[in-house]
Amino acid sequence: MKIGKVAMDPATATASKSKLINEKGLFWRLTDRTSESRGKVLIYSSAILMIVAVTAITLFLTIQGLRSFVVDHLNFWTFITGTQWYPDRAQNPSFGAFPFIFGSMAVTFLAALIATPIAIGTAIFMAELAKKWGTKVMQPIIEILVGIPSVVYGLIGLSLIVPFMRVHFGGSGFNLLAGAIVVGIMILPTVASIAADSIRAVPDSLRQASYAIGATKWQTIWRVVIPAAGSSLVTAIVLGMSRAFGEALAVQMVIGNVVTLPKSIFDPSATLTTIITLSMGHTTTGSILNDALWSLGFILLLISYVFIVIIRFLSRRRNA
Protein backbone atom coordinates (compact mmCIF):
# COMPACT_ATOMS: atom_id res chain seq x y z
CA MET A 1 0.00 0.00 0.00
CA LYS A 2 1.33 3.38 -0.91
CA ILE A 3 1.13 5.67 2.03
CA GLY A 4 0.80 8.79 -0.06
CA LYS A 5 -2.46 7.60 -1.55
CA VAL A 6 -4.27 6.68 1.66
CA ALA A 7 -5.70 10.07 2.30
CA MET A 8 -6.84 10.40 -1.29
CA ASP A 9 -8.88 7.24 -1.31
CA PRO A 10 -12.27 8.07 0.26
CA ALA A 11 -13.03 4.46 1.26
CA THR A 12 -9.78 3.99 3.15
CA ALA A 13 -10.15 7.40 4.71
CA THR A 14 -13.52 6.56 6.29
CA ALA A 15 -12.29 3.15 7.41
CA SER A 16 -9.32 4.59 9.26
CA LYS A 17 -11.43 7.40 10.62
CA SER A 18 -13.93 4.99 12.16
CA LYS A 19 -11.15 3.30 14.10
CA LEU A 20 -9.24 6.34 15.17
CA ILE A 21 -12.00 8.78 15.92
CA ASN A 22 -14.40 7.82 18.64
CA GLU A 23 -17.85 8.96 17.67
CA LYS A 24 -19.67 6.97 20.31
CA GLY A 25 -21.88 8.96 22.64
CA LEU A 26 -21.71 9.91 26.29
CA PHE A 27 -23.66 6.81 27.31
CA TRP A 28 -21.06 4.52 25.72
CA ARG A 29 -18.27 6.41 27.33
CA LEU A 30 -19.72 5.89 30.80
CA THR A 31 -20.76 2.26 30.39
CA ASP A 32 -18.10 0.62 28.24
CA ARG A 33 -15.41 -1.21 30.19
CA THR A 34 -12.66 -0.08 27.87
CA SER A 35 -13.57 3.57 28.17
CA GLU A 36 -11.30 5.85 30.12
CA SER A 37 -14.14 8.14 31.06
CA ARG A 38 -15.44 5.92 33.85
CA GLY A 39 -12.32 6.22 35.94
CA LYS A 40 -12.10 9.88 35.16
CA VAL A 41 -15.69 10.50 36.28
CA LEU A 42 -15.15 8.52 39.48
CA ILE A 43 -12.01 10.41 40.47
CA TYR A 44 -13.33 13.80 39.44
CA SER A 45 -16.56 13.31 41.36
CA SER A 46 -14.72 12.40 44.56
CA ALA A 47 -12.59 15.50 44.20
CA ILE A 48 -15.60 17.68 43.49
CA LEU A 49 -17.50 16.17 46.43
CA MET A 50 -14.60 17.09 48.68
CA ILE A 51 -14.53 20.67 47.43
CA VAL A 52 -18.30 20.95 47.73
CA ALA A 53 -18.17 19.64 51.30
CA VAL A 54 -15.54 22.17 52.37
CA THR A 55 -17.32 25.02 50.63
CA ALA A 56 -20.65 23.99 52.08
CA ILE A 57 -19.31 23.79 55.63
CA THR A 58 -17.67 27.17 55.29
CA LEU A 59 -20.75 28.76 53.76
CA PHE A 60 -23.13 27.22 56.27
CA LEU A 61 -20.99 28.23 59.21
CA THR A 62 -20.56 31.73 57.79
CA ILE A 63 -24.30 32.21 57.27
CA GLN A 64 -25.18 30.77 60.67
CA GLY A 65 -22.29 32.56 62.31
CA LEU A 66 -23.27 35.95 60.94
CA ARG A 67 -26.88 35.61 62.06
CA SER A 68 -26.17 36.94 65.54
CA PHE A 69 -24.74 40.12 64.02
CA VAL A 70 -27.20 40.55 61.15
CA VAL A 71 -30.46 39.21 62.59
CA ASP A 72 -29.93 39.68 66.32
CA HIS A 73 -27.98 42.94 65.92
CA LEU A 74 -25.15 42.05 68.25
CA ASN A 75 -22.12 44.25 67.75
CA PHE A 76 -19.26 42.20 66.24
CA TRP A 77 -16.59 44.19 68.04
CA THR A 78 -18.20 43.91 71.47
CA PHE A 79 -18.81 40.24 70.74
CA ILE A 80 -15.14 39.41 70.25
CA THR A 81 -13.75 41.83 72.84
CA GLY A 82 -16.43 41.72 75.53
CA THR A 83 -15.61 39.78 78.66
CA GLN A 84 -19.13 39.37 80.01
CA TRP A 85 -20.89 36.22 78.85
CA TYR A 86 -24.39 36.26 80.41
CA PRO A 87 -26.69 35.08 77.61
CA ASP A 88 -29.45 33.88 79.93
CA ARG A 89 -29.82 37.07 81.94
CA ALA A 90 -33.39 38.29 81.53
CA GLN A 91 -32.35 41.92 81.95
CA ASN A 92 -29.76 43.03 79.45
CA PRO A 93 -28.14 39.73 78.38
CA SER A 94 -24.54 40.14 77.24
CA PHE A 95 -22.46 38.21 74.77
CA GLY A 96 -18.74 38.79 75.29
CA ALA A 97 -16.77 35.92 73.80
CA PHE A 98 -13.29 37.19 74.61
CA PRO A 99 -12.74 34.81 77.57
CA PHE A 100 -13.27 31.84 75.25
CA ILE A 101 -11.11 33.18 72.45
CA PHE A 102 -8.45 33.91 75.01
CA GLY A 103 -8.94 30.48 76.62
CA SER A 104 -8.54 28.69 73.30
CA MET A 105 -5.42 30.67 72.44
CA ALA A 106 -3.92 30.19 75.90
CA VAL A 107 -4.54 26.44 75.89
CA THR A 108 -3.12 26.15 72.37
CA PHE A 109 0.06 28.10 73.01
CA LEU A 110 0.70 26.59 76.44
CA ALA A 111 0.13 23.13 74.99
CA ALA A 112 2.60 23.87 72.20
CA LEU A 113 5.06 25.20 74.76
CA ILE A 114 4.79 21.99 76.76
CA ALA A 115 4.76 19.61 73.78
CA THR A 116 7.42 21.17 71.52
CA PRO A 117 10.63 20.51 73.49
CA ILE A 118 9.61 16.96 74.37
CA ALA A 119 8.37 16.21 70.85
CA ILE A 120 11.48 17.58 69.14
CA GLY A 121 13.67 15.72 71.62
CA THR A 122 11.81 12.50 70.90
CA ALA A 123 12.09 13.14 67.17
CA ILE A 124 15.85 13.68 67.40
CA PHE A 125 16.18 10.51 69.44
CA MET A 126 14.17 8.51 66.92
CA ALA A 127 15.62 9.91 63.74
CA GLU A 128 19.24 10.62 64.69
CA LEU A 129 20.37 8.70 67.74
CA ALA A 130 18.56 5.37 67.90
CA LYS A 131 17.54 4.91 64.29
CA LYS A 132 16.82 1.19 64.46
CA TRP A 133 15.16 1.26 67.85
CA GLY A 134 13.40 4.45 66.85
CA THR A 135 11.70 2.97 63.83
CA LYS A 136 11.06 -0.45 65.30
CA VAL A 137 9.87 0.46 68.78
CA MET A 138 9.24 4.18 69.13
CA GLN A 139 7.33 4.68 65.89
CA PRO A 140 4.62 2.07 66.70
CA ILE A 141 4.32 3.42 70.25
CA ILE A 142 3.80 6.92 68.92
CA GLU A 143 1.25 5.70 66.42
CA ILE A 144 -0.67 4.08 69.28
CA LEU A 145 -0.54 7.35 71.22
CA VAL A 146 -1.91 9.25 68.21
CA GLY A 147 -4.79 6.79 68.03
CA ILE A 148 -5.88 7.03 71.67
CA PRO A 149 -9.31 8.76 71.83
CA SER A 150 -9.21 12.19 73.40
CA VAL A 151 -11.69 11.20 76.09
CA VAL A 152 -9.03 8.85 77.48
CA TYR A 153 -6.57 11.71 77.74
CA GLY A 154 -9.37 13.66 79.45
CA LEU A 155 -9.94 10.87 81.93
CA ILE A 156 -6.27 10.63 82.76
CA GLY A 157 -6.18 14.39 83.24
CA LEU A 158 -9.22 14.22 85.45
CA SER A 159 -7.81 11.52 87.70
CA LEU A 160 -4.15 12.57 87.78
CA ILE A 161 -3.58 16.18 86.82
CA VAL A 162 -6.63 17.75 88.43
CA PRO A 163 -5.96 16.21 91.88
CA PHE A 164 -2.29 17.16 91.52
CA MET A 165 -3.28 20.77 90.80
CA ARG A 166 -5.72 20.79 93.70
CA VAL A 167 -3.08 19.59 96.15
CA HIS A 168 -0.22 21.75 94.96
CA PHE A 169 -1.81 24.93 93.64
CA GLY A 170 -5.10 25.05 95.52
CA GLY A 171 -8.56 25.72 94.20
CA SER A 172 -10.65 23.04 92.60
CA GLY A 173 -7.77 21.74 90.53
CA PHE A 174 -9.72 22.38 87.33
CA ASN A 175 -7.78 25.10 85.55
CA LEU A 176 -6.23 26.42 82.38
CA LEU A 177 -2.87 24.76 83.00
CA ALA A 178 -4.50 21.36 83.49
CA GLY A 179 -6.21 21.78 80.13
CA ALA A 180 -2.96 22.81 78.47
CA ILE A 181 -1.07 19.86 79.95
CA VAL A 182 -3.70 17.36 78.81
CA VAL A 183 -3.79 18.80 75.30
CA GLY A 184 -0.02 19.14 75.25
CA ILE A 185 0.37 15.43 75.98
CA MET A 186 -2.29 14.72 73.40
CA ILE A 187 -0.57 16.58 70.55
CA LEU A 188 2.90 15.38 71.55
CA PRO A 189 2.89 12.17 69.46
CA THR A 190 1.55 14.01 66.40
CA VAL A 191 4.26 16.65 66.60
CA ALA A 192 6.97 14.10 67.38
CA SER A 193 6.10 11.86 64.47
CA ILE A 194 5.96 14.68 61.90
CA ALA A 195 9.14 16.20 63.32
CA ALA A 196 10.92 12.83 63.07
CA ASP A 197 9.87 12.57 59.43
CA SER A 198 11.22 16.02 58.67
CA ILE A 199 14.52 15.23 60.40
CA ARG A 200 14.80 12.01 58.38
CA ALA A 201 14.20 14.05 55.23
CA VAL A 202 17.41 16.05 55.79
CA PRO A 203 19.85 14.69 53.20
CA ASP A 204 22.70 12.57 54.54
CA SER A 205 25.17 14.61 52.51
CA LEU A 206 24.73 17.47 54.99
CA ARG A 207 25.52 15.21 57.93
CA GLN A 208 28.60 13.95 56.10
CA ALA A 209 29.65 17.51 55.32
CA SER A 210 29.30 18.35 58.98
CA TYR A 211 31.27 15.37 60.26
CA ALA A 212 33.94 16.00 57.64
CA ILE A 213 34.65 19.45 59.07
CA GLY A 214 35.21 17.98 62.50
CA ALA A 215 31.79 18.41 64.05
CA THR A 216 30.66 16.28 66.94
CA LYS A 217 27.35 14.45 66.76
CA TRP A 218 25.74 17.05 68.98
CA GLN A 219 27.05 19.93 66.83
CA THR A 220 25.84 18.16 63.71
CA ILE A 221 22.35 17.71 65.11
CA TRP A 222 22.09 21.14 66.66
CA ARG A 223 23.80 23.33 64.07
CA VAL A 224 23.20 21.46 60.81
CA VAL A 225 20.32 18.96 60.95
CA ILE A 226 17.82 20.99 63.01
CA PRO A 227 18.30 24.23 61.00
CA ALA A 228 18.05 22.25 57.76
CA ALA A 229 14.80 20.66 58.93
CA GLY A 230 13.76 24.12 60.18
CA SER A 231 10.49 25.07 58.58
CA SER A 232 9.22 21.47 58.52
CA LEU A 233 9.69 21.37 62.26
CA VAL A 234 7.68 24.57 62.60
CA THR A 235 5.01 23.02 60.39
CA ALA A 236 4.87 20.05 62.77
CA ILE A 237 4.36 22.40 65.71
CA VAL A 238 1.70 24.46 63.95
CA LEU A 239 -0.14 21.26 62.98
CA GLY A 240 -0.07 20.20 66.60
CA MET A 241 -1.37 23.63 67.60
CA SER A 242 -4.24 23.44 65.16
CA ARG A 243 -5.17 20.10 66.68
CA ALA A 244 -4.94 21.56 70.17
CA PHE A 245 -7.08 24.49 69.11
CA GLY A 246 -9.88 22.28 67.90
CA GLU A 247 -9.87 19.85 70.83
CA ALA A 248 -13.06 20.06 72.91
CA LEU A 249 -13.67 16.96 74.96
CA ALA A 250 -10.40 16.42 76.80
CA VAL A 251 -10.14 20.12 77.60
CA GLN A 252 -13.70 20.33 78.79
CA MET A 253 -13.08 17.57 81.32
CA VAL A 254 -10.32 19.40 83.15
CA ILE A 255 -10.50 23.13 82.44
CA GLY A 256 -13.31 24.00 84.84
CA ASN A 257 -15.64 25.67 82.36
CA VAL A 258 -16.29 29.07 83.84
CA VAL A 259 -17.23 31.99 81.63
CA THR A 260 -14.99 34.56 83.29
CA LEU A 261 -11.59 35.60 82.06
CA PRO A 262 -8.88 33.67 83.97
CA LYS A 263 -6.45 35.83 85.94
CA SER A 264 -3.71 33.20 86.03
CA ILE A 265 -3.02 29.80 84.55
CA PHE A 266 -4.30 28.30 87.81
CA ASP A 267 -7.78 29.74 87.32
CA PRO A 268 -10.57 27.71 85.77
CA SER A 269 -11.45 28.84 82.29
CA ALA A 270 -13.24 27.84 79.08
CA THR A 271 -12.46 27.66 75.38
CA LEU A 272 -14.46 28.24 72.21
CA THR A 273 -14.93 24.52 71.72
CA THR A 274 -15.85 23.69 75.30
CA ILE A 275 -18.47 26.43 75.52
CA ILE A 276 -20.06 25.24 72.28
CA THR A 277 -20.25 21.59 73.32
CA LEU A 278 -21.53 22.49 76.78
CA SER A 279 -24.19 25.00 75.72
CA MET A 280 -25.43 23.85 72.33
CA GLY A 281 -27.71 21.18 73.75
CA HIS A 282 -29.59 23.63 75.90
CA THR A 283 -30.51 26.10 73.19
CA THR A 284 -33.31 26.26 70.68
CA THR A 285 -32.61 26.93 67.04
CA GLY A 286 -33.01 30.59 66.21
CA SER A 287 -32.51 31.86 69.76
CA ILE A 288 -29.88 34.50 70.27
CA LEU A 289 -27.71 32.15 72.34
CA ASN A 290 -27.90 29.54 69.60
CA ASP A 291 -26.82 32.14 67.04
CA ALA A 292 -24.05 33.34 69.31
CA LEU A 293 -22.68 29.79 69.64
CA TRP A 294 -22.68 29.52 65.86
CA SER A 295 -20.68 32.72 65.81
CA LEU A 296 -18.17 31.11 68.17
CA GLY A 297 -17.97 28.20 65.75
CA PHE A 298 -17.44 30.65 62.91
CA ILE A 299 -14.56 32.31 64.77
CA LEU A 300 -13.11 28.85 65.46
CA LEU A 301 -13.23 28.07 61.76
CA LEU A 302 -11.58 31.36 60.82
CA ILE A 303 -8.71 30.79 63.24
CA SER A 304 -8.28 27.21 62.00
CA TYR A 305 -7.97 28.61 58.49
CA VAL A 306 -5.27 30.94 59.75
CA PHE A 307 -3.36 27.90 61.00
CA ILE A 308 -3.73 26.24 57.60
CA VAL A 309 -2.51 29.37 55.82
CA ILE A 310 0.53 29.46 58.11
CA ILE A 311 1.30 25.81 57.32
CA ARG A 312 0.91 26.39 53.58
CA PHE A 313 3.13 29.45 53.78
CA LEU A 314 5.84 27.55 55.64
CA SER A 315 5.82 24.59 53.30
CA ARG A 316 5.94 26.86 50.26
CA ARG A 317 8.95 28.65 51.68
CA ARG A 318 10.58 25.29 52.26
CA ASN A 319 10.06 24.19 48.67
CA ALA A 320 11.27 27.47 47.20
Binding site: A209, Y211, A212, G214, T216, P227
Partner: protein, 270 residues
Protein backbone atom coordinates in the same frame (compact mmCIF):
# COMPACT_ATOMS: atom_id res chain seq x y z
CA UNK B 1 52.22 3.26 24.33
CA UNK B 2 53.77 6.34 22.81
CA UNK B 3 50.59 7.05 20.95
CA UNK B 4 48.56 6.65 24.10
CA UNK B 5 50.65 9.25 25.85
CA UNK B 6 49.91 11.65 23.06
CA UNK B 7 46.22 10.86 23.22
CA UNK B 8 45.42 11.30 26.83
CA UNK B 9 47.99 13.17 28.69
CA UNK B 10 50.01 16.24 29.08
CA UNK B 11 52.21 15.92 32.11
CA UNK B 12 53.21 19.55 32.23
CA UNK B 13 51.96 20.05 35.77
CA UNK B 14 53.56 17.07 37.39
CA UNK B 15 56.47 18.90 38.82
CA UNK B 16 57.68 16.59 41.56
CA UNK B 17 61.20 15.58 40.80
CA UNK B 18 62.31 14.16 44.10
CA UNK B 19 60.00 12.50 46.57
CA UNK B 20 58.75 14.63 49.43
CA UNK B 21 58.44 12.93 52.84
CA UNK B 22 55.61 10.48 53.34
CA UNK B 23 52.86 12.02 55.45
CA UNK B 24 50.36 9.20 55.59
CA UNK B 25 51.38 5.60 55.20
CA UNK B 26 48.90 2.77 54.76
CA UNK B 27 50.16 -0.68 55.60
CA UNK B 28 48.21 -3.84 54.94
CA UNK B 29 44.84 -2.09 55.13
CA UNK B 30 41.77 -4.31 54.85
CA UNK B 31 38.25 -2.91 54.84
CA UNK B 32 35.09 -4.96 55.06
CA UNK B 33 31.44 -4.08 54.61
CA UNK B 34 29.83 -6.93 56.50
CA UNK B 35 31.13 -9.99 54.63
CA UNK B 36 32.24 -8.02 51.62
CA UNK B 37 36.01 -7.62 51.54
CA UNK B 38 36.08 -4.19 49.87
CA UNK B 39 39.73 -3.23 50.22
CA UNK B 40 42.41 -5.93 50.31
CA UNK B 41 45.92 -5.64 51.76
CA UNK B 42 46.60 -2.13 50.55
CA UNK B 43 50.01 -0.57 51.12
CA UNK B 44 50.12 3.03 49.99
CA UNK B 45 52.35 5.96 50.94
CA UNK B 46 50.94 9.47 50.59
CA UNK B 47 53.59 12.13 50.15
CA UNK B 48 53.14 15.53 51.70
CA UNK B 49 52.43 18.65 49.64
CA UNK B 50 51.70 16.66 46.53
CA UNK B 51 48.66 15.27 44.79
CA UNK B 52 47.99 11.56 44.95
CA UNK B 53 45.25 10.30 42.64
CA UNK B 54 43.37 7.06 43.20
CA UNK B 55 41.99 5.68 39.96
CA UNK B 56 40.18 2.53 39.00
CA UNK B 57 36.82 1.29 37.77
CA UNK B 58 33.63 1.67 39.84
CA UNK B 59 33.50 -0.51 42.91
CA UNK B 60 37.26 -0.99 43.06
CA UNK B 61 37.52 0.27 46.63
CA UNK B 62 39.15 3.63 45.98
CA UNK B 63 36.34 5.66 47.59
CA UNK B 64 36.16 3.24 50.48
CA UNK B 65 39.87 3.65 51.03
CA UNK B 66 39.86 7.45 50.95
CA UNK B 67 36.93 7.57 53.37
CA UNK B 68 38.93 5.48 55.80
CA UNK B 69 41.73 8.04 55.97
CA UNK B 70 39.52 10.46 57.95
CA UNK B 71 37.37 7.69 59.41
CA UNK B 72 34.21 8.75 57.59
CA UNK B 73 33.50 5.04 57.26
CA UNK B 74 32.76 5.03 60.99
CA UNK B 75 29.34 6.37 60.02
CA UNK B 76 28.55 3.10 58.26
CA UNK B 77 27.77 0.59 61.02
CA UNK B 78 28.73 -2.49 58.99
CA UNK B 79 32.14 -1.15 57.95
CA UNK B 80 35.24 -2.61 59.62
CA UNK B 81 38.91 -1.79 59.08
CA UNK B 82 42.11 -3.66 59.81
CA UNK B 83 45.72 -2.68 59.36
CA UNK B 84 47.66 0.49 59.94
CA UNK B 85 47.37 3.96 58.48
CA UNK B 86 50.08 5.97 60.19
CA UNK B 87 49.84 9.72 60.38
CA UNK B 88 51.91 11.80 62.82
CA UNK B 89 53.10 8.59 64.54
CA UNK B 90 49.53 7.56 65.24
CA UNK B 91 47.56 4.74 63.69
CA UNK B 92 44.44 6.45 62.35
CA UNK B 93 42.54 3.17 62.58
CA UNK B 94 43.13 2.93 66.33
CA UNK B 95 39.67 3.05 67.99
CA UNK B 96 41.05 5.49 70.56
CA UNK B 97 41.74 8.14 67.91
CA UNK B 98 39.69 11.30 68.43
CA UNK B 99 37.91 11.31 65.08
CA UNK B 100 36.64 14.86 65.57
CA UNK B 101 40.21 16.14 65.88
CA UNK B 102 41.35 13.85 63.07
CA UNK B 103 38.76 15.29 60.69
CA UNK B 104 39.89 18.79 61.63
CA UNK B 105 43.37 17.89 60.39
CA UNK B 106 42.26 15.76 57.45
CA UNK B 107 39.43 17.51 55.62
CA UNK B 108 37.17 16.08 52.97
CA UNK B 109 35.28 17.20 49.86
CA UNK B 110 32.57 15.02 48.36
CA UNK B 111 31.30 14.10 44.92
CA UNK B 112 28.11 16.12 45.14
CA UNK B 113 28.70 19.69 46.31
CA UNK B 114 27.09 19.74 49.77
CA UNK B 115 27.10 23.29 51.13
CA UNK B 116 24.94 23.84 54.19
CA UNK B 117 21.64 25.58 53.42
CA UNK B 118 23.00 28.67 55.16
CA UNK B 119 24.71 31.83 53.97
CA UNK B 120 28.03 31.68 52.11
CA UNK B 121 29.97 33.14 55.02
CA UNK B 122 28.30 30.85 57.55
CA UNK B 123 29.37 27.87 55.47
CA UNK B 124 33.01 28.82 55.96
CA UNK B 125 32.58 29.91 59.56
CA UNK B 126 30.75 26.84 60.79
CA UNK B 127 33.88 24.64 61.05
CA UNK B 128 35.55 27.42 63.06
CA UNK B 129 32.56 27.76 65.34
CA UNK B 130 32.56 24.00 65.81
CA UNK B 131 36.18 24.31 66.84
CA UNK B 132 35.25 26.99 69.36
CA UNK B 133 36.34 30.16 67.51
CA UNK B 134 34.11 33.05 68.61
CA UNK B 135 36.11 36.11 67.62
CA UNK B 136 34.17 37.94 64.90
CA UNK B 137 37.28 39.47 63.38
CA UNK B 138 39.02 36.12 63.04
CA UNK B 139 35.90 34.59 61.51
CA UNK B 140 35.72 37.36 58.94
CA UNK B 141 39.39 37.15 58.08
CA UNK B 142 39.31 33.39 57.64
CA UNK B 143 36.19 33.67 55.47
CA UNK B 144 37.91 36.10 53.12
CA UNK B 145 41.16 34.16 53.17
CA UNK B 146 39.53 30.81 52.34
CA UNK B 147 37.36 32.29 49.60
CA UNK B 148 40.45 33.98 48.15
CA UNK B 149 42.31 30.67 48.14
CA UNK B 150 39.62 28.99 46.06
CA UNK B 151 39.19 32.01 43.79
CA UNK B 152 35.62 32.61 44.88
CA UNK B 153 36.10 35.88 46.75
CA UNK B 154 35.66 38.21 43.78
CA UNK B 155 32.59 36.30 42.65
CA UNK B 156 30.77 36.35 45.99
CA UNK B 157 32.20 39.17 48.11
CA UNK B 158 29.08 41.29 47.60
CA UNK B 159 26.68 38.55 48.58
CA UNK B 160 28.26 36.74 51.49
CA UNK B 161 24.90 36.77 53.25
CA UNK B 162 23.11 35.06 50.40
CA UNK B 163 22.31 31.37 50.65
CA UNK B 164 25.09 29.08 49.49
CA UNK B 165 22.55 27.03 47.57
CA UNK B 166 22.05 29.99 45.21
CA UNK B 167 25.54 29.43 43.79
CA UNK B 168 26.22 27.37 40.67
CA UNK B 169 27.39 23.76 41.02
CA UNK B 170 31.02 24.64 40.37
CA UNK B 171 30.93 27.56 42.79
CA UNK B 172 29.29 25.35 45.41
CA UNK B 173 32.08 22.81 45.06
CA UNK B 174 34.74 25.51 45.41
CA UNK B 175 32.87 26.75 48.46
CA UNK B 176 33.02 23.23 49.88
CA UNK B 177 36.78 23.20 49.28
CA UNK B 178 37.03 26.60 50.99
CA UNK B 179 35.05 25.21 53.90
CA UNK B 180 37.48 22.30 54.14
CA UNK B 181 40.36 24.80 54.22
CA UNK B 182 38.88 26.86 57.04
CA UNK B 183 40.53 24.83 59.77
CA UNK B 184 43.89 24.79 57.96
CA UNK B 185 44.07 21.01 57.69
CA UNK B 186 47.22 19.14 56.71
CA UNK B 187 45.50 16.90 54.25
CA UNK B 188 42.50 17.34 51.98
CA UNK B 189 40.69 14.28 50.68
CA UNK B 190 38.56 14.72 47.58
CA UNK B 191 36.15 11.98 46.53
CA UNK B 192 35.46 12.51 42.82
CA UNK B 193 35.06 16.27 43.33
CA UNK B 194 34.45 17.11 39.67
CA UNK B 195 32.30 14.25 38.47
CA UNK B 196 29.09 16.23 39.03
CA UNK B 197 30.46 19.36 37.34
CA UNK B 198 30.68 20.74 33.83
CA UNK B 199 34.09 20.80 32.06
CA UNK B 200 34.76 24.50 32.72
CA UNK B 201 34.06 24.19 36.44
CA UNK B 202 36.12 20.99 36.55
CA UNK B 203 39.07 22.75 34.96
CA UNK B 204 38.84 25.52 37.57
CA UNK B 205 38.91 22.96 40.36
CA UNK B 206 41.91 21.21 38.83
CA UNK B 207 43.76 24.51 38.57
CA UNK B 208 42.85 25.23 42.17
CA UNK B 209 44.15 21.88 43.37
CA UNK B 210 47.48 22.50 41.67
CA UNK B 211 47.76 25.73 43.64
CA UNK B 212 46.64 24.18 46.90
CA UNK B 213 49.21 21.42 46.78
CA UNK B 214 51.87 23.97 47.70
CA UNK B 215 50.32 24.14 51.16
CA UNK B 216 48.34 20.96 51.55
CA UNK B 217 48.64 17.26 50.93
CA UNK B 218 45.94 16.27 48.50
CA UNK B 219 44.41 12.86 47.87
CA UNK B 220 41.87 12.71 45.07
CA UNK B 221 39.67 9.88 43.87
CA UNK B 222 38.80 10.27 40.23
CA UNK B 223 37.07 8.38 37.48
CA UNK B 224 38.72 10.58 34.96
CA UNK B 225 42.14 9.29 33.98
CA UNK B 226 43.03 12.44 32.10
CA UNK B 227 42.38 14.36 35.27
CA UNK B 228 44.75 12.13 37.19
CA UNK B 229 47.35 12.52 34.47
CA UNK B 230 46.95 16.29 34.41
CA UNK B 231 47.21 17.05 38.09
CA UNK B 232 48.53 14.12 40.10
CA UNK B 233 52.14 13.65 41.14
CA UNK B 234 51.46 10.08 42.21
CA UNK B 235 48.80 7.74 40.96
CA UNK B 236 47.47 4.56 42.53
CA UNK B 237 45.49 2.12 40.43
CA UNK B 238 42.88 0.10 42.31
CA UNK B 239 41.14 -2.89 40.86
CA UNK B 240 38.71 -5.23 42.63
CA UNK B 241 39.72 -4.02 46.06
CA UNK B 242 43.44 -4.40 45.49
CA UNK B 243 46.05 -1.77 44.88
CA UNK B 244 47.45 -3.02 41.59
CA UNK B 245 50.08 -0.40 41.02
CA UNK B 246 51.36 2.78 42.60
CA UNK B 247 53.96 5.19 41.29
CA UNK B 248 54.80 8.56 39.88
CA UNK B 249 51.98 9.54 37.57
CA UNK B 250 54.20 9.82 34.50
CA UNK B 251 55.73 6.41 35.08
CA UNK B 252 52.40 4.77 35.76
CA UNK B 253 50.80 6.19 32.64
CA UNK B 254 53.66 5.78 30.23
CA UNK B 255 55.30 2.66 31.50
CA UNK B 256 52.94 0.63 33.69
CA UNK B 257 54.36 -2.53 35.18
CA UNK B 258 51.15 -4.53 35.33
CA UNK B 259 49.08 -5.54 32.37
CA UNK B 260 45.74 -4.63 33.99
CA UNK B 261 47.03 -1.11 34.63
CA UNK B 262 47.91 -0.62 31.00
CA UNK B 263 44.60 -2.15 29.95
CA UNK B 264 42.71 0.24 32.18
CA UNK B 265 44.57 3.41 31.23
CA UNK B 266 44.36 2.58 27.56
CA UNK B 267 40.60 2.25 27.97
CA UNK B 268 40.29 -1.46 27.38
CA UNK B 269 38.01 -1.80 30.40
CA UNK B 270 36.59 0.42 33.08
Amino acid sequence: MIQMEKNIVSFSNNTVTKDLPVQINAEDVNIYYGDNHAVKHVNLPIHEKSITALIGPSGCGKSTFIRTINRMNDLIPAARCEGTISYKDVNILNPKVDVVQLRKEIGMVFQQPNPFPKSISENIQLPLRFAGVRNKKTLKEVTEDCLQQVGLWDEVKDRLDRSATSLSGGQQQRLCIARALALKPDVILLDEPTSALDPVSSAKIEELLLQLKNDYTIVIVTHNMQQAARIADYTAFFYQGELIEFGKTRTLFTNPEKKSTSDYISGRFG
